[in-house]
Symmetry: C2
Subunit: 256 residues, 2 copies
Amino acid sequence: MKRARSLKRKPKRPEPKRGEPEPLDPRSIDDDPVVQGILTAISQKRLKPGAKLGEDKLAAAFGTTRIHIRQALAHLASRKVVMQIPNRGAFVYRPSWEEAQDIFAARRILETATVGAAVDRLDKFGKTELKAHMELEARHDRNDRWASLSLTAEFHILVAKLAGNRVLLDMSRELMLRTSLAIATFEQPGEPDCSPEAHPDIGALILARDKAGAIQAMRHHLEEMEQRIKPQEDKDEVDELTAIFQEIGARARAGG
Amino acid sequence: MKRARSLKRKPKRPEPKRGEPEPLDPRSIDDDPVVQGILTAISQKRLKPGAKLGEDKLAAAFGTTRIHIRQALAHLASRKVVMQIPNRGAFVYRPSWEEAQDIFAARRILETATVGAAVDRLDKFGKTELKAHMELEARHDRNDRWASLSLTAEFHILVAKLAGNRVLLDMSRELMLRTSLAIATFEQPGEPDCSPEAHPDIGALILARDKAGAIQAMRHHLEEMEQRIKPQEDKDEVDELTAIFQEIGARARAGG
DNA sequence: ATTGGCTATATTGTAAACATTATGGTGGTC
DNA sequence: GACCACCATAATGTTTACAATATAGCCAAT
């Protein structure tokens, strides 16, 4: 038995007037709290590459269901931020050495373009935003590691926003996260992505509308970032299996 | 009651030897036949922007289950190839006019970079591949619309492959599909993406190792592509509601 | 005759139970 | 004493059924 339709208490759609068939609420899964939570945890380096992302654990942590977690993990796997292995589960993505280099190369191409467009399109509002961010970065508490990491990432996102191209912004966001994973994989896992003194220079050049200079400074900043990583594969804690097995294999050959 | 373990008849893993923990079979969902089917259907313009992608219909068409379809659609939605509206279903993505322009701008940035890298890295094997493709494009049957569309798309993919950067290749692939959707939305829905005479020029310049020339030709090719689309919103069949409503509104104002 | 609300149907979203697969521990055997 | 097979447990993947929502058709009323 169904109750009268007029008694329903979840209107949910205040204006169901037809005529705009699509732009009703196309809120993406990107706005999902689980997705956002994992993304910020990765960009703040609280989640290290290779970390297991168990469905039950996440469901309990976020207070939601396994299906919801599954959807979020599938989305993150599509974005190459997590890696899903059949019957094994989801792990924070760990790029290969070649992929790390490709990511840096792609980021150089995209961000030199975005910083150039940012200089071209810079207006009063953009200047205000940029100055405000540089103020934040200059005054921030360097002891708060997590806020620090978020702030330095925000600088690059802000530059991409100033470029005024949503598609480039999304791609740059994705590449920044993957850069973060590359640095965490091939440098020390807790190291920051950006050296802190580079951003004020770039910001000043943008504000001065020095397009070539800003592009050059951004390229230098990214190259410096890339030169810090080395193709070491065996780290301290995770992926010790390969090293151990190699050692065992050597012992077996030596002893038997 | 469980049967003996030794009786299981689905070995599935011929060599389960431990020692390679990760590269077992990380086959992505990109290789999924449903995903590939929808992608090729879109790039061949058999699926037009706004087309409904019902879960039951797709499950019946591909002979699989709804869950499988759901995962594929979620993945395609993450890649912005389909749009999912809550409680309404999945539709082929229809970019807005601003987004279409952003896509073209992003593609100019990426593909001028990839064609430059392709010239730099060109080797004997790359030359062979490129020549083979140009041969195919020159000789192909122009009446076979679908093969034609696939071939012209393959040219840009081949150039991105020659650049030797997997990350750039994936991003370019995605942008090509979204370009295809932009053209189908804002030009005639069945029109090809690329004008056919541009590819031989670009290919010849790459083979001649004329980097600046190849970049310029690619930029020109993409600009020509972009200039063909116009910000018309009312098309013939889909989204006819807005046009009808505008007409009705005009009549109402004129008659009443 | 057209507009409004109501009902029936189809489709999407979600929850829970079930099957399958990896993993860690245990006992047996050489 | 070490290695191998087996079993118990936990996690993932899948099926099933159910609930909620939107769509289309229908009837009544103006």
